[in-house]
């Protein structure tokens, strides 16, 4: 923790400045020369779509990651953060989007993790508990310091995460989606705390998908798009429309819906499907949802985090059981079939997290590509290498994977090409319905366009495609129909002629008048 500064800077002075920050992962540039100022005692909100680079920038400012190039100035002096502890010691803390609490420990132990208070004999648990209680009182949350974090609701866990960041007396507090699991009243309390903090001279960096909410609390708006700052303004001078316009920017051409053919019969029919929350609460993550998709049709499902998109797709693919309702593939009820049986019948899923669910990192590009269709090249008992070879080479050509060859390790490919491998793997099974959960996540714009072009081609050949996205611009590419999900239900359906504003309004992201 820093000693109090000798001089008293005025509110609005720049405390921390990022200059020309570039961050590259392999060939992908997450940040392309970003300049970002944090002002004393004010809230600066960073707006941007998924993949715009918000979290990456925040990770750099809080010492989680180091920039590829560029510099950071704290109080006008250049600094290099060697670690999060280093950044914390200089007064910068971050509340991560993903909770970083130890669920098996108590609230008190989580808040003081890594900087336990020492007493005369060992640790001063009583003082830790006292401070924890004070923090909870500030946040108007009635949580006992000895409660285990795993016993708390997600929203309460987020409060604990916030309390931990508050407990270190930070000068700069970065909040990455702090309200995603909070109720409306909890959000109000948080905003009150934020105002208290700014009044005390603490600078806040705020990131949220709920644009309206963010606009309420912020003093400055900074918009990030594709790794570059596109606009900055004082909050007094802007409105939601300004934010949305700068966030989505000019349309990058993600293609248009394939035309020139008639849709076939209904390929996939989701009939009144409900899915219970896996964490055990009686909330339904998908609530009596019905949707028909015809052969050759491309349907895009848009929704915010937690809208139930992933659960819906995983349930249709067989990863999650249905709580109620049925899933029909070409008229047959497949709700009770295993994943493998559904793949055999022609229903495949390209999962959201390709590292975790899509690829086997220990295998080659070729072995990953052929994994789902091994049956196609078994001769008698043994695999036919020549058949496998031609299948793999054919797929590499078809989906245009840029690789040194089938024998290259899968990790040697760029994110976009890895995604093409996952898609190619499922295409080799010759599916009738393909589900893709956020197929564009973490891949660059060029690869994105290629992936969508590929899906368009397949749809024209009769494949029914359902993909989910949390980027509005992607809804307006190849999809024939756009479904907006909100709290487990379809809140709106649009044709391809919809506007971004309509979609965002239906998702609950921004209500535009």
């Amino acid at each position: 923790m820093n000693a109090a500064p000798q001089f008293e800077p005025a509110a609005g002075d720049t405390v921390l400045a990022a200059r020309n920050i570039v961050k590259s992962y392999g060939g992908t540039h997450a940040l392309k020369g970003v300049n970002f100022d944090i002002r004393r005692g004010e809230v600066t909100t960073l707006f941007g779509e998924n993949g715009a680079g918000k979290s990456t920038l925040m990770k750099i400012l809080s010492g989680v990651e180091t920039p590829t190039s560029g510099s950071i100035e704290l109080d006008g002096r250049p600094v290099v953060f060697s670690s999060t502890v280093d950044a914390r010691d200089r007064g910068i803390s971050i509340i991560h989007q993903e909770l970083s609490l130890a669920p098996n420990l108590s609230v008190r132990d989580n808040i003081f993790m890594g900087r336990e208070l020492r007493g005369a004999t060992g640790l001063d648990f009583a003082e830790e508990a006292r401070q924890t209680r004070m923090l909870m009182a500030d946040l108007e949350e009635d949580i006992d310091p000895m409660t285990l974090v795993q016993d708390l609701r997600l929203g309460q866990q987020q409060i604990v995460e916030i309390a931990r960041a508050l407990s270190v007396d930070s000068r700069i507090l970065i909040m990455d989606e702090p309200t995603s699991a909070l109720s409306a009243t909890e959000v109000e309390v948080l905003f009150k705390v934020i105002r208290d903090l700014t009044a005390r001279g603490v600078s806040i960096v705020y990131i949220s998908h709920h644009l309206e909410e963010a606009l309420q609390i912020t003093d400055h708006a900074v918009v990030l798009r594709d790794g570059a700052i596109t606009a900055t303004a004082s909050a007094r001078t802007i409105d939601l429309e300004w934010i949305v316009r700068n966030m989505v920017g000019e349309n990058f051409d993600l293609g248009s819906p394939p035309t020139g053919y008639a849709f076939g019969d209904v390929a996939l029919s989701i009939d009144d499907v409900s899915i219970a929350d896996v964490s055990g609460s009686d909330r339904l993550v998908v609530d009596r949802l019905s949707l028909d998709v015809r052969a050759g049709e491309i349907v895009c499902i848009y929704g915010l985090m937690g809208a139930g998109r992933t659960e819906l797709l995983e349930c249709v693919a067989g990863r999650l059981p249905v709580t109620g309702g049925r899933v029909l593939l070409e008229g047959d009820d497949i709700s009770r079939l295993s994943i493998a049986e559904r793949i055999n019948r022609g229903l495949v899923l390209v999962p959201e997290d390709r590292q975790r669910d899509g690829l086997v990192q220990t295998m080659t590009v070729g072995a990953n590509l052929s994994l789902a269709s091994i049956g196609a090249f078994v001769k008698g008992m043994l695999l036919s290498r020549s058949r496998e070879r031609s299948l793999i080479d054919g797929t590499i050509r078809d989906v245009r994977v840029k690789t040194a060859g089938a024998g290259a390790p899968i990790g040697s490919l760029s994110g976009g090409n890895q995604q093409k491998v996952v898609i190619g793997k499922m295409l080799t099974t010759d599916p009738k319905v393909m589900l893709l959960d956020e197929p564009s996540r973490g891949i660059d714009v060029g690869a994105k366009a290629e992936v969508f072009r590929l899906l368009g081609e397949r749809a024209a050949q009769g494949l029914a495609v359902v993909f989910s996205t949390s980027e509005v611009a992607e809804c307006l590419g190849i999809a024939h129909r756009i479904i907006v999900m909100r709290r487990g239900r379809i809140s709106a359906q649009f044709g391809a002629d919809v506007t971004k504003e309509q979609i965002m309004a239906a998702s609950g992201e921004a209500v535009l008048v």
Binding site: S338, L359, T362, A367, L371, A372, D393, G407, P409, G415
Partner: protein
């Protein structure tokens, strides 16, 4: 897409692309190199070490561990561990002994003396059953592999002790008039001068190699060991694969138990105590990753030979048994250390796998294996 696709020779789904670098060669072939060093050193230290006779004797010692290790490799490729194989080996010997002594059917008042082949089959079925219990516990009931097989280690050993009351079956020769002779063939006979046990190990290794490299099951095993979630979403029957590997490991343990009791012409309930650890060591020295998905039969066999030739060598030059333990332990730690270095390199430098001479043109785009790459989503 590029010409480099021609030079990807594969050993399992692992790659070894066409570059040449001495450091890489030494690292990848380290188990084999270690074996050569062991043979060289002991040959200089003892005049008896470097002879065909001694090699065959040592090889028949290795065979027991080699067979266990092949089964263990399958389990480890799946990301699991099988601590029960030593006990299964012991119980298998005891069951064989029990069957050879004749099975009394009291209700019928007769004594059955099953022929040797029936004994062999029954014992293998027993091993498969132990594996089935392990597999069901792990795959369906979600008991961690370490705990499930640790439990079976005790249960199976206890069963062996109960069956014999702690005693040993001494006479496994069978009687010609009962038609059950021939059990000692496994442990004593030679084919083309090679002990049967060694041949059995070779046959099992070849079968294992074919399973791993040329069957759908092998591919499923590598895939589900490398990433179970991805494998499942690709339609791999991950649970069946998991149960199968424990059953195969159990069968391997039974075969090893048969050979050991045949070599000793006796079956004691404590046979094979702690052999599971030697088998795991062989697999690890052979370059397999305990996290699953990486490893092959060739490496595992070399690993078994490293351990066997080292400990026999130490016996031959008269080093105390206590020092043998220390040496074996040191070799295991060294092997795991080198594994860590190899896999770390692979993660950090995926684009440079082909060595400095190849694949530079794609290096810029290629070095993106870093999992953090996925985190760029704002």
């Amino acid at each position: 897409m590029t010409s480099a696709s021609q030079n990807s020779s594969r050993s399992g789904p692992r790659t070894s692309s066409g570059g040449f670098s001495l450091a890489k060669l030494l690292l990848e072939g380290r188990a084999f190199l270690a074996l050569m060093v062991i043979i060289l050193v002991f040959s200089m230290l003892s005049p008896y070490y470097f002879s065909l006779g001694n090699f065959l004797t040592m090889a028949s010692h290795v065979a027991i561990f080699g067979i266990l290790a092949v089964g263990m490799l399958l389990v480890i490729l799946n990301g699991g561990i099988d601590l029960s194989v030593g006990s299964t080996l012991g119980l298998s010997g005891v069951i064989a002994g029990f069957l050879m002594q004749g099975v009394q059917l009291q209700t019928l008042g007769i004594v059955l003396f099953p022929p040797v082949w029936v004994v062999v089959v029954l014992v293998c079925v027993l091993g498969a059953l132990v594996g089935l219990v392990n597999g069901v516990l792990i795959a369906w009931l979600k008991v961690p592999a370490f705990v499930a097989t640790l439990g079976m280690l005790y249960v199976v050993r206890g069963a062996a002790l109960l069956m014999t009351n702690g005693l040993t079956y001494n006479d496994l020769g069978g009687k010609p008039e009962l038609g059950n002779t021939g059990f000692d063939w496994l442990g004593f006979n030679r084919l083309f001068g090679i002990p049967i046990g060694v041949l059995v190990m070779v046959v099992i290794a070849i079968i294992g190699s074919i399973i791993l490299n040329r069957t759908a099951f092998g591919r499923w095993l590598y895939a589900s060991g490398g990433n179970e979630r991805a494998a499942e979403l690709s339609g791999v029957p991950v649970k069946k694969v998991q149960v199968s590997v424990y059953m195969l490991s159990g069968i391997c343990a039974s075969v090893a138990g048969l050979i050991l009791s045949s070599e000793l012409t006796s079956a004691g309930p404590t046979a094979g105590n702690s052999y599971e650890l030697t088998a795991i060591a062989a697999v690890v020295i052979g370059g397999a990753a305990l996290t699953g998905g990486r490893g092959n039969i060739r490496g595992t066999l070399v690993g078994a030979f490293v351990i066997g030739f080292l400990s026999d060598g130490l016996v031959i030059i008269g080093v105390s048994a206590y020092w043998q333990t220390v040496f074996t332990g040191a070799v295991i730690v060294l092997a795991v250390l080198l594994n860590a270095i190899q896999y770390r390199r692979r993660v950090k430098l995926p684009g440079s796998n082909g060595g400095p001479s190849t694949s530079q043109q794609q290096a810029g785009k290629a070095r993106t294996a870093d999992p953090a790459h996925e985190k760029i989503a704002g």
